[in-house]
Symmetry: C2
Subunit: 357 residues, 2 copies
């Protein structure tokens, strides 16, 4: 019996989470494993109920679990709060740090049946692309010390520190090279070594780690050039290895390029089997509660959880296959609706995947 | 008599610069002003001739000038140098700092006749876009102190500091709001205020400055979301105000989205009339010396120089008009060649603009 902390959060989170659980229930029966769910508040709803975005009780539920299935957090209701208390930051950053979830996998690929939704020119989309962004998630400028603010008048200033340790770069680089081995054996490391001292260091260490993976082709690219090349020819990339901030930027750009934002899952791992699994998109407050949100990213996040945290590779593949099949049958939510086919609801999509499974 | 420091640099720099000078010569006659050019080495060629990317003699030539017309620097020959000595960094960063060129304008727009080269889907391109990225160019993490490296073994670490002063943010925000007033009166400030202390500060001050421009609509966007929105719907943006690093990233993405990289000029200003004007693209060593490079970005940079540093608005417009006309006549270099029309050479393009002028 594996324990799952279910943190549905705000906006469309609870709706899409219900569909992921529905699919996981079918998978349990078909593949003969057992999950125990423990729901806990996170984000805005946790602020409302407990006065903080990540209550101790939620942290305890996560600590007792084998994995965290995360929905999404935030919405207009909490936008007036000071930055440090806003649901996204106050929930996600401490969760990542507390569980040492240093390795964030963000796949961005074009789903064949959805290619028409891709914002790129047809001949570029035609070549297809399937990118894995590997983002360092617990260091860099997000967590670097010191940060602060002081002085007054024109001279008042505020600062953050981008800092990396050798051990931090080494471990994320190993994760990325290993992922590349399971894929097309191409790794592109994103940095700004032409300007930043921390990024000269990054590049050096990635080069060192590469010696253990002579079968993987390594390239280095500057972040500014990376944002250009992604647009011009995403097909050229396999694994993109990035620090925390650059990974945030690059993974979002890559996700949008697929045109399938509602389809993209992500995994945040601690290097062992524990992880947090969440959709790439946000809480989409504008469509929350309307039963129109696309639950596929949440369902595919559940599949990643089966793969990385629960050792249920077969079930993970079956869910991914069921999603492909449903798409091929032109069953679509509103965001990805096919011309001439009426969209299904959030629940309708969950049902369709459950049946296909 | 205005003095221009002409820093052609490496790669295609000298070729495209020759065409810009050709066009400037015609403009002088037609509009009755006089320029004196002073050529100086910069970048790789300066390393070869003088042992440094920005020799004192070059700096002196710039100091004596009313504006700097810059080509491009760097190439494979100098790639083995330590990061701090590479031509791009060792030439551009000190030039920006020395002349306090804190305000970088990077326009990114689709040239109608070239819309087919845009990497976005036809319906997105169809809406058109015309963005001005205003990038802070002399502060932020590029120049912040301390930066360094220390320790050894797994604990060895390296860091950079992202720091902004109130005065630095205020002056770039004023430049951006004033630019928005000359355009469509929409300003979007790009930050990461949900995570970074320096960017909370940035957002606060931009909001303060906005009070002086009630006629300009202000929005804030996170950098990760900005990279997505640029791809999904670039039409929504007018002026994008960014810090140094985010501006580097965003302006390159926006430039590539236009599909007209060889067409984009940029201006780096000191808030008075002095400035450095350069193409957005690089030194393109692969096509250097072949008389095929597109000189239009360099020619349009010369137009920006006339506008911002020399007060020759009429001449600037005339050059921009001549470029539009040449494009409309299907006169194209290889990079933007129209189907069924043989491309012209670098010189051929310069001649065509000169004639149109
Ligand atoms: C909400 C925010 C703190 C977060 C980040 O920047 O890491 C988000 O953008 C993400 O990418 O998961
Ligand atoms: C060459 C490099 C230092 C420079 C920068 O990052 O500013 C370049 O990318 C640019 O945008 O002008």
């Amino acid at each position: 019996m594996k324990k799952i902390a279910v943190l549905a959060g705000d906006g469309i989170g609870p709706e899409v989470m219900a569909e992921a659980i529905k699919v996981l229930d079918v998978a349990q029966k078909r593949f003969g494993f057992a999950l125990e769910y423990r729901q806990a508040d996170v984000g805005g709803i946790a602020i409302d109920h407990h006065g903080e975005a990540l209550p101790k009780s939620t942290l305890a539920a996560c600590e007792a679990a084998d994995a965290i299935l995360f929905g999404s957090v935030g919405g207009p209701k909490w936008e007036g709060l000071p930055p440090a208390q806003q649901p996204e930051r106050a929930a996600l950053l401490p969760l990542r740090k507390h569980f040492d979830l240093f390795c964030n996998f963000r796949p961005a690929r074009v789903f064949e049946p959805l290619a028409a939704a891709c914002p790129l020119r047809a001949d570029i989309v035609g070549r297809g692309f399937d990118i894995l962004v590997v983002r360092e998630l617990t260091s860099g400028i997000y967590f670097g010390q010191p940060k602060g603010r002081e002085g007054s008048g024109a001279d008042e200033r505020a600062w953050d520190t981008k800092v990396y340790r050798r051990s931090e770069i080494e471990r994320i680089a190993h994760m990325a090279f290993q992922a590349a081995r399971r894929r097309r054996r191409k790794l592109t490391s994103v940095d700004k070594a032409n300007v930043l001292t921390s990024m000269v260091f990054w590049r050096e260490i990635v080069r060192d780690v590469a010696r253990s993976y002579p079968d993987v082709e390594l390239n280095h690219i500057y972040i500014d050039n990376a944002t250009m090349q992604l647009v011009r020819d995403p097909h050229q990339f396999d694994v993109l290895l990035c620090g925390n901030m650059f990974g945030d930027i690059i993974s979002d750009e890559a996700a949008m390029l697929t045109g399938s934002m509602g389809m993209l899952a992500s995994a945040s791992l601690n290097g062992g089997s524990f992880g947090l699994f969440e959709p790439a998109g946000g809480s989409a407050p504008d469509i929350a509660g309307k039963n129109v949100a696309n639950p596929l990213a949440q369902i595919l996040s559940a599949a990643l959880m089966l793969r990385y945290s629960l050792g249920e590779e077969e079930a993970a593949r079956a869910i991914e296959g069921a999603v492909e099949q449903v798409l091929a049958n032109n069953i679509r939510t509103r965001d990805i609706a096919a011309a001439g086919h009426a969209p299904v609801s959030t629940q309708g999509m969950g049902d369709a995947v459950a049946v296909a499974l």
